[in-house]
């Protein structure tokens, strides 16, 4: 799965990787707000944000080109709307839609490729995200790959059974897809019960444990201040 690469990036070591997740989350929100409130014709400011983000990528010793390419995954959606805006005669907005959504995606990608997810979720929880939602997100992420794999196996099996041909009618293929989805649901339900039994036997205390308790140090405060200050400087100055 494509996400494994980001997981690997997030486990590298650099000054930016060592910063506390809460500081990085707040810094992300600051730069996103700065990008979001910039006027649509302020191309200099948008270029400055890009420069800031690329500097951070270099400081985190991440592969700049592949991250820049990966952020382009927003462009199909944005491109469609940019095209529609262009047709409607609003070319400046079309360009700004592309710029702003690309930069925002790049900023978000920078966060998750410098922060391991367990730390990110712990940070979110201490910033006030309800425990139930946070636990659900973590369980979801843990079993996402397992259940997707199961879905792929089932699809492969059904293609093998029909020897790769689609010579059945739409109705029977629809029924087959329905059946496999119901079976996938049943298996997920059973898996959740098994997961709960395993949790009980291991003494689950209401949280996924972290290897080390998160600490907000002076360096984290410095990083957050610097990030907010530079975002503000670009927003007001350019």
């Amino acid at each position: 799965m494509h996400h494994v690469l980001v997981e690997q990036w997030s486990r590298r070591a650099s000054w930016l990787h060592r910063r506390d997740a809460r500081g990085k989350l707040l810094a992300l929100v600051a730069i996103l707000i700065a990008i979001g409130t910039t006027r649509i014709d302020a191309h200099a400011a948008l270029a400055a944000y890009a420069l800031l983000l690329i500097t951070a990528l270099l400081a985190a010793r991440l592969p700049v080109i592949s991250i820049l390419l990966r952020s382009a995954s927003v462009l199909p959606f944005t491109g469609t709307f940019a095209l529609v805006s262009w047709i409607a005669g609003d070319a400046p907005r079309a360009i700004s839609l592309l710029e702003k959504s690309y930069l925002s995606a790049l900023a978000a990608l920078l966060l998750i490729s410098t922060t391991p997810l367990p730390r990110l979720f712990a940070g979110l929880e201490s910033l006030g995200v309800p425990r139930l939602i946070n636990l659900t997100v973590q369980f979801l992420y843990r079993y996402l790959f397992v259940i997707s794999e199961q879905a792929q196996h089932m699809r492969l099996a059904s293609r093998c059974r029909s020897s790769g041909k689609n010579n059945h009618g739409t109705r029977s293929r629809f029924a087959a897809a329905t059946g496999s989805l119901a079976v996938l649901f049943a298996r997920s339900y059973g898996r959740a019960e098994g997961v709960h039994r395993a949790m009980l036997s291991r003494g689950f205390a209401g949280h996924f444990p972290l290897l080390a308790a998160p600490r907000f140090t002076l360096a984290d405060g410095g990083f957050l201040t610097a990030a907010i200050a530079s975002a503000l400087l670009v927003r007001v100055g350019l």
Binding site: V6, R93, S188, V195
Partner: protein, 302 residues
């Protein structure tokens, strides 16, 4: 449709973030009461199921296929509040980890799909508990349509321009995908029900059926209204100026909220947002008072 960052203007995303936070808070608390500790992994694993279910393609017609969105299926199997929690988790994970949908407009996406989408999907299911297929179909249909129309309305009111031809085509596209979602949801929930009826619990009978129908009608009207209002923001003003009543009404309605403006606040959008919120609060208080009054009249002996 996950809206990425950079599309919505600050007033739109900020308002929806402010709106979504308490809604999610309340629904999470309800979900916490409804699910015991043993169901904790179930929410996450079923979220993963919905994620994975989108890989299974349903042939719908020649060359056309769709996939499940899942809000109504979750509401029918888990109940509305836990379904909202699961959908919120899915949307948050997609925004944070997969860059599918923005982070500042997380509130907007959560509101469209997890709150309005799930509740619009569950209401018909609860009201029509005798005719399950119809209920599921209309629930899933409404759910997708409401989410998509809200997203479109938010984009339009953020100033993204769309020629009316494209607007019409996308509305038609929404209706088709809502119909597909309806068909898939009915088929899959029925199949799950055959495997184990306990997985699709019957909704609690609502004692106040009429209230529910009024809510459904209100949702439909509100969404249609929002869509029309954002597509033609100055429709009413234009109408009144065409009819020549604008000059007379200005004097009549010179209230503190006139033209949705607050003079004391510095920036324009802040003023408009504050005025809008005050208006909503006033309407809410009026409704609350009316409800008290009606209840007292209905129970004279109490």
């Amino acid at each position: 449709m996950h809206i990425p960052d950079g599309f919505l203007t600050p007033p739109v995303w900020a308002t929806l973030d402010i709106l979504a936070v308490p809604c999610v808070g309340i629904l999470t608390r309800r979900a916490q009461r409804a699910t015991d500790e043993s169901k904790l992994p179930l929410l996450g694993v079923l979220g993963a199921f919905v994620f994975a279910a989108q890989m299974i393609n349903f042939p719908v017609g020649p060359g056309v296929s769709g996939h499940l969105v899942g809000g109504t299926l979750l509401a029918a199997t888990l109940g509305p509040a836990p379904a909202t929690v699961v959908m919120t988790a899915i949307i948050a994970l997609q925004a944070l980890v997969f860059q599918d949908g923005g982070i500042l407009c997380l509130g907007a996406n959560v509101f469209n799909m997890a709150i309005a989408g799930v509740l619009a999907g569950y209401l018909p299911y609860r009201l029509l508990s005798k005719r399950k297929s119809l209920a599921l179909f209309s629930g899933a249909f409404l759910s997708v349509l409401v989410s998509a129309c809200l997203a479109l309305a938010e984009l339009l009111s953020s100033g993204v321009k769309m020629p009316s031809g494209i607007l019409g085509v996308s509305l038609g596209f929404f209706v088709v995908s809502a119909l597909i979602e309806g068909g898939i949801t009915v088929a899959v929930v029925k199949a799950i029900d055959r495997l184990n009826p306990a997985w699709v619990p019957a909704p609690q009978q609502s004692p106040r059926r009429q209230t529910g129908w009024i809510a459904v009608a209100a949702i439909v009207l509100a969404v249609a209204g929002i869509l029309f209002a954002s597509a033609a923001p100055d429709g009413i003003e234009k109408l009144s100026s065409d009819l020549g009543i604008a000059s007379q009404t200005k004097a009549l309605f010179s209230t503190p909220l006139a033209d949705y403006d607050f003079k004391a606040l510095p920036s324009e959008w802040l003023r408009k947002a504050a005025a809008g919120l005050c208006g909503l609060a006033l309407i809410y208080i009026a409704c609350l008072g009316l409800e008290r009054l009606l209840r007292r009249r209905a129970l004279p002996e109490a």
